[in-house]
């Protein structure tokens, strides 16, 4: 049997465990509570009021004004996640971390235990209790013959539920449900399916295979199999590692903004963060995606495939900026994101159209060394300083004379403005103490949208 351990309201629960007086209270984990942003996590006490992760903070404050708003700390949650991983590895070496708060545990190779349903439930129950005793955290555990069923079962009873499902039971529970309940079916795919008259998981299971294949290709076949509770995906143990499919960062801006300089600076900052992560993990990417969300919450994502894979901020930024310029109509933006996909290992040979600029490469290596030694914000692209200052991440004033950041009124919206001096090359500065809200993205379910 396979277990999916899903930590209940993980970020909020870690805060409650670290600060016991918050236990039993509605708490909302977010970025800086005094700024605009979204809910990162809500405790179970806040959820009856309608507060959900991803909701704008202003709306959460309206729905649940008595909640405590706690600034999240990604490093704290990652550390706890690693401690939990160690606990899982004591039980079985076949553990696949699925996100910061979820992991698959394959019990099928455990000697004498874990093969039967009763035995798996017993193990799950012991594990759930141990997580509570050691860490003071709740976990819901799904049990199934494959990853798909384990994953979907984990959401049946929360918090602190244990739900074992066979394939037959899976169909009994999920066939009557909306097709979007199926793991991997997002809102857009659900829309397409419903347009074809497929509204429930059961109707997807019984839809003609030819039609699904014609309409959705290979994904159509997978979807139909999934609706039957079939899944052959192996649990890939932690020690074998799984290559990421993409890397990206996004940020909700301090206020709706249509200042091109500020938006460009933000894109530069995001490109720099993504490039640094790519190099740190030894990857390059061939597809650059930009995400824009305007003040009406309309989201546009646009991507461009490159002839040569990149891992430098300048190359990434050039494409990201071009995509942004082509798709931004001047409306105030709320959120910006940059991501890179079609990743390949940086040590793989790459046939390049143009020879590598050795000077740029040497400069990049030197800058990486400085950051490795002194911290991420010791050297940053100067063009990103307007963004950093607005987010309170620039604790020095050497770049601009005159002390406080310059602010300018543009088209009725006040936004910080970068000086020309800030828009080229790198600037130096000490590390910021504020946590970086753009590092705050737990991985969601794998997308299977066509």
């Amino acid at each position: 049997m396979i277990l999916l351990v899903d930590m209940d309201a993980f970020f909020a629960s870690v805060e409650q465990a670290h600060h016991p007086h918050l236990r039993g209270k509605a708490i909302i984990v977010c970025g800086d509570p005094s700024r605009r942003g979204v809910v990162t996590a809500a405790s179970y006490e806040a959820r009856p009021f309608g507060v959900r992760a991803g909701m704008p903070l202003a709306e959460a404050k309206r729905l649940c004004p008595h909640a405590e708003y706690v600034e999240g700390n990604p490093r704290k949650y990652v550390e706890k996640s690693l401690e939990l991983l160690e606990m899982f590895l004591e039980l079985t070496p076949d553990v696949e971390p699925f996100s910061v708060d979820e992991a698959f545990l394959d019990l099928r190779k455990l000697p004498g235990r874990g093969q039967t349903r009763d035995s798996a439930v017993e193990i799950a129950s012991e594990l759930q209790q141990r997580i509570w005793d050691v860490h003071g955290l709740g976990a819901s555990i799904g049990i199934g013959p494959n990853k798909l069923i384990a994953k979907m079962a984990s959401g049946v009873k929360k918090p602190r539920g244990i739900t074992p499902l066979s394939e037959e039971e899976f169909r009994g529970v999920f066939w009557p449900q909306d097709v979007q309940a199926l793991w991997g079916v997002g809102p857009k795919l659900a829309e397409h399916l419903k347009a074809l008259g497929i509204a429930t998981v059961g109707s997807l299971a019984n839809a003609p295979g030819d039609m699904l294949k014609r309409r959705f290709g290979v994904v159509g076949e997978h979807l139909r199999e999934a609706a039957w509770g079939h899944d052959q995906t192996p649990v890939i143990p932690y020690h074998e590692g799984i290559d990421p499919k993409s890397m990206g960062h996004e940020v909700t801006l301090p206020e709706d903004c249509r200042d091109p300089e500020f938006l460009e600076g933000t894109l530069l900052r995001l490109s720099d963060q993504v490039a640094r992560r790519l190099r740190g993990d030894g990857f390059r990417g061939r597809t650059v995606t930009v995400k824009l969300r305007d003040f009406r919450f309309r989201t546009v994502t646009r991507q461009r495939a490159l002839a040569t894979a990149v891992d430098d901020y300048a190359g990434l930024f050039e494409v990201a900026r071009a995509l942004w310029r082509e798709n931004w109509k001047g409306e105030p933006l709320r959120l910006l994101g940059v991501s890179v996909s079609a990743l390949e290992h940086a040590d793989e040979e790459q046939l390049e159209l143009f020879p590598t600029n050795e000077r740029s490469k040497a400069l990049q290596d030197a800058l990486d060394q400085v950051r490795d030694k002194l911290g991420e914000a010791s050297v940053v692209p100067a063009g990103s300083l307007a963004y950093r200052r607005a987010m309170g991440h620039v604790p020095f004033g050497a770049v601009r004379s005159g002390g406080a950041p310059e602010r300018t009124e543009r088209k009725g919206r006040e936004v910080p403005r970068a000086s020309k001096r800030e828009r080229g090359g790198y600037a130096e500065g000490p590390d910021p103490s504020a946590p970086d809200p753009t590092q705050f993205k737990p991985r969601g379910p794998r997308e299977r949208e066509p």
Binding site: H21, Y69, R75, E79, D372, L374, G375, D431, S433
Partner: protein, 84 residues
């Protein structure tokens, strides 16, 4: 609510069997006795490692302290100042 402080503080610290723990610290003219360490985590800043402690004081007060071995120095990152 939590108040972000980042105030340098003097902390009486115990180093026992390769681990460290804050015992009490001076803040706003008073001594806060650490009754319980409720959480620990770390963050790298370049080559330096910062060690964080979530602690409970003598009453229902709650704090987060950070130890930076480069100083060595302690910083009180945030403190619970009562319901927001």
């Amino acid at each position: 609510m939590f108040e972000s402080l980042n105030d340098p503080v003097d902390v009486l610290t115990a180093f026992v069997d390769g681990s460290m723990r804050p015992i009490r610290f001076r803040w706003q003219g008073r001594i806060v006795r650490v009754r319980r360490i409720t959480g620990q985590w770390a963050r790298r800043e370049g080559q330096a490692q910062l060690r964080y402690f979530a602690v409970q004081g003598s009453k229902d007060d709650s704090y987060e302290l950070c130890f930076d071995a480069r100083g060595p120095s302690w910083v009180l990152c945030r403190a619970w100042t009562g319901p927001g």
